[in-house]
């Protein structure tokens, strides 16, 4: 039992409840408290990262119920990595929001914190049904955030997003029911034991349940047939919200990693590596689709939204192949792409604010204010996202390519990934040169100058691509250890034997 594990859940929960009662307090007070909550969450994530880096599993059993009977929170390297990634992204998004985007809705900060709480539960939970609850918590907060800012343009994408996710929840429940009806448990560690013993007529039920679960996680992660809701919804959302949503697709990827490596991993008997032979071609197709979308996008935000889909495809291809080196590379790229995409959403918003009625559309317009600063930020973000040296996206992609060194998979992955990256470079350079360089004479109403908070937030999030290169050694060491830990699912199963408080161990 380790009570620190509840901190990333309790801190945003208490902060969010406080915000809910403070809707009419002065905005400065609300902003200070909300930002303090996010900073505290980052501190707790750092504490957990330090704890997890010794390679042991730590659990927190709610109500002191011995797993598999109660719900447990489990901390391992992967969970700690996701927590710290979310906390850093959230801090800069929150800082950006405080620069003015949080006005107009009294409950913005409350929703933002509840969203973080849902994300943190999803990363920490060791129970399949609790994962469903976490998804619902983060989704209902995200519905509110997506509509933040109002206006007709957000209604239709919001409606599509909500209806699709409600259908996803229904499918999630069906698959949970199918798996429970055969195995009689929903604790992930216990499921890993029970699924390998399933035989006979139960086998096909668990198999169907597992495949349906892949559909649900695929919807969250936006893989190919289920990705068309994403560009419209993300490009219409307010910038800090869209930047935070960069982590939402990664929740789906996290769930695939967790469930399919642990429960349907190599040791799962007849159900070993379920669905993974499907995932590889779908991942490559998603990557190709993202590139096509990026080439055809008419605004900067749509371009970045398609970049989200490109990164999902890039991440899932090595995960589907499942080698240890591939997993480590995918985790490295996961950090890089999440922060970069978040940063690009923020930069696009700043560009849109400086260009008058042209907004962020990729068309010529009169010369904008603060062009040098914004174009440098966009350049750094675009280079990192497209995967050009010397920034972190390049190292992520090289590691992914290196992890597959032979066979037909290599031919497919290398050709699709490299062609995709090349076309992404074209998409970014086209957008960048039109927006920043090709100016026409004309009059622009003088826009509000950039204020300190938004510049710092966008600049810092983008600059993380450089920081990641400097710290590439320690980060790689951590992701290597994480991949090794993920492959050794026997150790995870031992959490079932953890003594509870008050028991003689």
């Amino acid at each position: 039992m380790n009570h620190w594990l509840t901190a990333p859940v309790l801190i945003p929960l208490l902060g969010g409840i406080l915000q809910a009662f403070m809707g009419y307090a002065p905005i400065r007070l609300r902003r200070t408290l909300a930002l303090a909550t996010t900073v505290l969450m980052l501190v707790s994530a750092i504490v957990l990262l330090v704890m997890a880096s010794d390679g042991n599993y730590r659990i927190y059993a709610f109500g002191n119920w011995q797993p598999p009977f109660g719900i447990v929170l489990v901390l391992d390297r992967l969970a700690a990595l996701m927590l710290i990634m979310t906390a850093i992204l959230a801090l800069f998004c929150h800082l950006f929001a405080i620069g003015g985007a949080d006005e107009g809705n009294r409950q913005f900060h409350g929703l933002f914190l509840f969203q973080l709480m849902g994300l943190n539960i999803a990363f920490l939970t060791g129970d399949l049904f609790n994962l469903f609850v976490a998804f619902e918590v983060l989704l209902i907060a995200s519905y509110g955030l997506l509509m933040h800012g109002g206006g007709t343009i957000r209604t239709v994408p919001g409606l599509h997003y909500v209806v699709l996710n409600l259908i996803g929840s229904a499918v999630f429940l069906i698959s949970v029911g199918m798996i429970y009806s055969v195995t009689g448990t929903l604790n992930m560690a216990d499921l890993a034991v029970k699924v390998s013993q399933v035989s006979g007529e139960g086998l096909s039920i668990v198999k169907a349940g597992g495949m349906m679960l892949l559909v649900v996680f695929g919807l969250k992660a936006a893989i190919l047939p289920l990705c068309f809701w994403l560009p419209r919804a993300y490009s219409k959302a307010t910038a800090p919200v869209a930047a935070l949503f960069a982590v939402m697709t990664k929740v789906g990827i996290y769930a695939i990693l967790r469930v399919y490596l642990l429960i349907f991993g190599d040791d799962a008997g007849e159900l070993a590596n379920l669905g993974m032979d499907w995932l590889f071609p779908i991942a490559l197709a998603t990557l190709a689709m993202g590139v096509i979308g990026a080439l055809g996008s008419g605004t900067l935000k749509t371009l970045v939204a398609w970049q989200v889909i490109i990164s999902v495809g890039t991440l899932l291809a090595p995960i589907a192949l499942g080698s240890e080196a591939g997993l480590s590379a995918a985790l490295f790229y996961l950090l890089s792409t999440t922060w970069t995409v978040g940063g690009l959403f923020l930069v696009s918003e700043l560009v849109a604010n400086q260009r008058g009625s042209a907004k962020d559309r990729i068309i010529t317009a009169p010369k904008m204010q603060s062009r040098t600063f914004l174009s440098v930020l966009f350049l750094v973000g675009a280079v990192a996202a497209a995967g050009l040296p010397p920034l972190s996206g390049f190292f992520g992609k090289v590691l992914i390519l290196q992890s597959v060194e032979s066979g037909t998979e290599m031919a497919w992955l290398w050709s699709v990934l490299l062609t995709g990256s090349f076309l992404t470079v074209i998409a970014y350079s086209r957008a960048g040169s039109i927006v920043f360089w090709r100016t026409v004479d004309g009059h622009l109403d003088k826009p509000d100058p950039l204020n300190g908070r938004v510049s710092v937030a966008a600049g810092a999030l983008t600059a993380l691509a450089i920081v990641m290169v400097v710290l590439a050694g320690p980060i790689m060491a951590y992701t290597d250890a994480t991949a090794a830990q993920l492959h050794n699912s026997d150790a995870y199963i031992e959490i079932l034997q953890t003594p509870m408080v008050g028991e003689d161990s």
């Binding site: 049904f129 209604t155 409606l159 209806v163 429940l173």
Partner: protein
Amino acid sequence: MELVFALVIGALTSSGVYLILRARTFPVVVGLTLLSYGVNLFLFSSGRLATGQQPIIGTAASYSDPLPQALVLTAIVIGFAMTAFVVVLSLRNLADNEDDHVDGKQPYKSPAPEEESEVTGK
């Protein structure tokens, strides 16, 4: 009982899916509700159907599993909140776009028949 139960789940789910595929928000909301009813019943049956059994292992040859009931309860609460939200969102969509089509407006409206220009005597 199993047959009736399975037929009810099947009927609810299929009508739910049919309604979700309609292009207006009202049938979509009703369809989502029906689908969640079907899912809740399905989840309930994952603990096996039994009447008059104790929910405790070891006291009788067969028992009634209480866990799916807890799961269903959670799913009902969440589903209720989500339905309320999607109703409000649909009303907002109706008010914003003056149309309850799920895409905000009809993708294609046949143009009104053009009135013939008045023939003057010139």
